[in-house]
């Protein structure tokens, strides 16, 4: 195994040091002859962990494969991603989970942890084989019907109860279907009224979060709120945490940066579910990420082929890319304005998401004896995003053409370089 010394590198706590890497771990002293890598001016963060990624394989390998998504993740500084269950077929059995797990091992550049469906076929009717998926080689710990919200309160309660014995977590896409149905594609407000797009009201999110935190309290189980977007939803999570309820929440990079006004030309790249919100919600999300009410940044990386986007806005598939610019957006919206320091970035993008997903070996401190999962970052570098300069097979990149931080220099998975900037 290769050995390195990453010399003169800054750590999230501000200290500057040499990191010695050997046999996939951080060690006291690399063997003599280890390659010295000059890292002056660079910062090392623990390898990023994304608890919300769509890899599209099996079923839509034209949009993304596990291998291409894994490469995109490595370019974004990630060492582990959680692959959402809404593939074709849906990941709702142990065999399907193991298949994706194996594809992840074959890809090799990030650890791919499989998310299982909560309900069979994401239909919201019957529980999927949650325990069998957990006990499979894939070791599923997180379950989600993402894209669909579990509407049935009784079924949601049973899912929470079922995963409690093995410390599983139910990750809910919070969207009350009668308040925000299939035609809801724009934040409900002045712009949706003017553009004539179906409104997606904030209350459709907050009522589900409110219901689910009460179910989490009643069952004593772990609830994770996917891609929270509203000030009201944040308030419910804040209240639930103060009450001691076992709930965590994630926010996406796009909801931290982009606002409803992007929809003004009906560009379907900006169609995403839940939708982009207005500035008061964006501000609430940033504040909640800063104070820890929102626990983690998760990308909701959602690759789509052109033929799935080249429709009328209401008919186009929702979702946008996120893996390669996630850290860029967090630096732009949180670090530069002084709302999150580097230790905070390490917490929200590595330590805490790894803990939510119960991922051993990820989200660990950069300390001797730990796995060498880390990303080298140039905190000052800026660049114009080019959607064609991507490892993803898809081009639905909402940041194309924007000047953003361009921080990722190299990514290491258990001491092996999985990406280095050319």
């Amino acid at each position: 195994m290769t050995a390195y010394v990453l010399s003169g590198v800054s750590l999230p706590d501000g200290a500057t040091t040499d990191l010695h890497v050997a046999d996939g771990h951080l060690v006291d002293e690399a063997p003599s002859g280890a390659e010295r890598v000059d890292c002056s001016g660079l910062l090392a963060l623990p390898g990023l962990v994304d608890v919300h990624t769509h890899l599209r394989e099996p079923g839509r390998e034209d949009a993304e494969t596990v291998a291409s998504g894994a490469r995109a993740a490595a370019r974004g500084g990630f060492t582990a991603v959680l692959a959402m269950a809404n593939t074709q077929p849906v990941t709702d059995t142990a065999e399907k989970a193991e298949h994706i797990h194996d594809l992840g091992l074959a890809a090799g550049v990030v650890d791919v942890q499989v998310i299982g469906a909560i309900t069979k076929g994401l239909r919201g009717e019957e529980l999927a084989e949650l325990g069998l998926m957990h006990r499979s080689r894939a070791g599923v710990t997180m379950f989600s019907d993402d894209g669909m919200c579990v509407q049935d309160a009784s079924l949601m309660r049973k899912a929470l109860e079922w995963v409690r014995p093995f410390d599983g977590v139910i990750a809910q896409h919070s969207q009350e279907a009668t308040l925000a149905g299939p035609g809801a594609c724009c934040h409900e407000g002045e712009l949706s009224g003017r553009l004539g797009l179906g409104g997606w009201p904030p209350v459709a999110e907050s009522v589900i979060i409110a219901r689910d935190v009460m179910l989490a309290e009643a069952t004593g189980s772990r609830l994770h709120v996917c891609h929270i977007t509203t000030a009201e939803g944040v308030e419910v999570v804040r209240w639930a945490k103060a009450r001691g309820i076992n709930v965590t929440a994630e926010v996406t990079p796009h909801h931290l940066l982009l606002g409803t006004e992007e929809l003004v030309d009906y560009d379907t790249v900006y169609k995403v579910n839940p939708p982009l919100r207005t500035s008061e919600h964006i501000e609430a999300l940033r504040a909640a990420l800063a104070d820890g009410t929102i626990d983690a940044v998760a990308t909701d990386h959602a690759p789509h082929a052109p033929q799935d986007k080249d429709h009328a806005f209401v008919d186009a598939r929702p979702g946008m890319l996120g893996l390669e610019q996630a850290l860029s957006v967090v630096i732009e919206t949180m670090v530069k304005p002084g709302r999150l320091d580097w230790a905070g970035v390490a917490d929200r993008m590595s330590h805490t998401p790894a803990r939510i997903a119960r991922l051993a070996g990820h989200g660990r401190p950069l300390a001797v004896g730990e796995p060498a999962n880390l990303v080298l970052v140039d905190p000052e570098r800026m660049g114009t995003v080019d959607r064609d300069a991507s490892a993803s097979l898809s081009r639905n990149n909402p940041y194309h053409g924007r000047l953003l931080p361009d921080p990722v220099v190299a990514t290491y998975l258990r001491g092996r370089e999985t990406y280095r900037r050319a």
Partner: protein, 310 residues
């Protein structure tokens, strides 16, 4: 003018030019021989992703009376379900070399998206809940003719009430924009459940009390209410809707002298509009239909007869 996508894109001069030429086109309609040679050799496609009888036939007549070749393409049912993207449908027609594509689609913004993809001129014949610009132009034209017939002056300074399902209406958005540009004031009348979000920013008056505005308005424009909205819980019953928002015989009597009644059709007689109102002498509903052909002739002329055509 390259496209007609939204009233918002039109200057006041362009609007006046369209309406003035429509007046001349209207005279052509009353001739025994209606053909003008203006668009000979031009090709116009009616591309309707959504059913329509009056708008499609109105555009078709307008094109034919200007001697353009017109074909109808029905693309009903979402292209999504057929497996062809909307973009491919548009690019296919455009590749045939047509000069204008008149498009209706259930998706708001679809015609603006299409304009970004094709070389042809795009005409918005109704996009979802967004806009229906030629409907607003023909409404204005019919109102202008009504005012002229009764020597009531210009549309500027007049008061227009628009009543009905405003939430789902593309007609209301185009009319609010157009009436503002023409100097008329608008009051929107609807129950709280059928008002668009953000309507307070539209620069119009809004009320839930239809009776309170009837005596002051010069135009009572009634919009269609789909009965299936009742199942959606937008109103409790037809009876209660009519009681609050129907143009009943009682309300008809509250209109001032010279006020006219408009409706873009198709009407639900007995729901948003009583037969007494629809058939009243002050109703301009059929004038709106004839204005439709004249206005669409004018629009096609403005888009296709210019010397800037490549």
């Amino acid at each position: 003018m390259k496209h007609l996508l939204s009233i918002a894109d039109l200057s006041v001069d362009e609007i006046r030019s369209i309406l003035d030429l429509a007046e001349e086109m209207h005279d052509v309609q009353s001739r025994p021989v209606k053909k003008l040679p203006a668009l000979r050799g031009r090709t116009v496609v009616n591309l309707f992703f959504e059913d329509s009888t009056r708008t499609r036939s109105s555009f078709e007549l307008a094109a034919k009376w200007l001697s353009a070749d017109a074909i109808n393409v029905s693309a009903k049912g979402s292209s999504v379900s057929k497996g062809e993207s909307m973009r491919d449908t548009l690019l296919t027609l455009d590749a045939m070399g047509v000069d204008a594509i008149i498009m209706r689609h259930a998706g708001s913004g679809a015609v603006r998206q299409a304009a970004g993809w094709v070389r042809a001129s795009m005409v918005n014949a109704g996009d979802g809940m967004h806009e229906h610009p030629t409907q607003a132009l023909l409404d204005a034209h019919a109102i202008r003719r009504h005012l002229a017939r009764h020597d009531l002056g210009d549309i500027s300074g007049k008061r227009v009430a628009i009543t009905g399902d405003l939430l789902h209406s593309r007609v209301v958005r185009s009319n609010v924009l157009l009436m503002a540009k023409l100097g008329a004031s608008v009051v929107l009348v609807a129950p709280p459940t059928l008002l668009p979000p953000g309507v307070e920013t539209w620069g119009v008056d809004v009320t839930h009390d239809f009776d309170s505005v009837l005596a002051e308005v010069d135009v009572a424009m009634m919009l269609r209410v789909q009965r299936e909205r009742m199942q959606g819980g937008f109103f409790p019953s037809e009876r209660e809707y009519i009681d609050g928002y129907g143009l009943t015989p009682r309300r008809l009597a509250l209109l001032k002298d010279g006020a006219c009644i408009a409706h873009p059709g198709p009407m639900n007689r007995g729901l948003e509009i009583s037969s007494a109102a629809a058939d009243a002498a002050r109703s301009i509903i059929l004038d709106q239909v004839s204005s439709g052909v004249a206005v669409r002739m004018s629009v096609l002329y403005h888009l296709l007869a210019g010397e800037d055509q490549s």
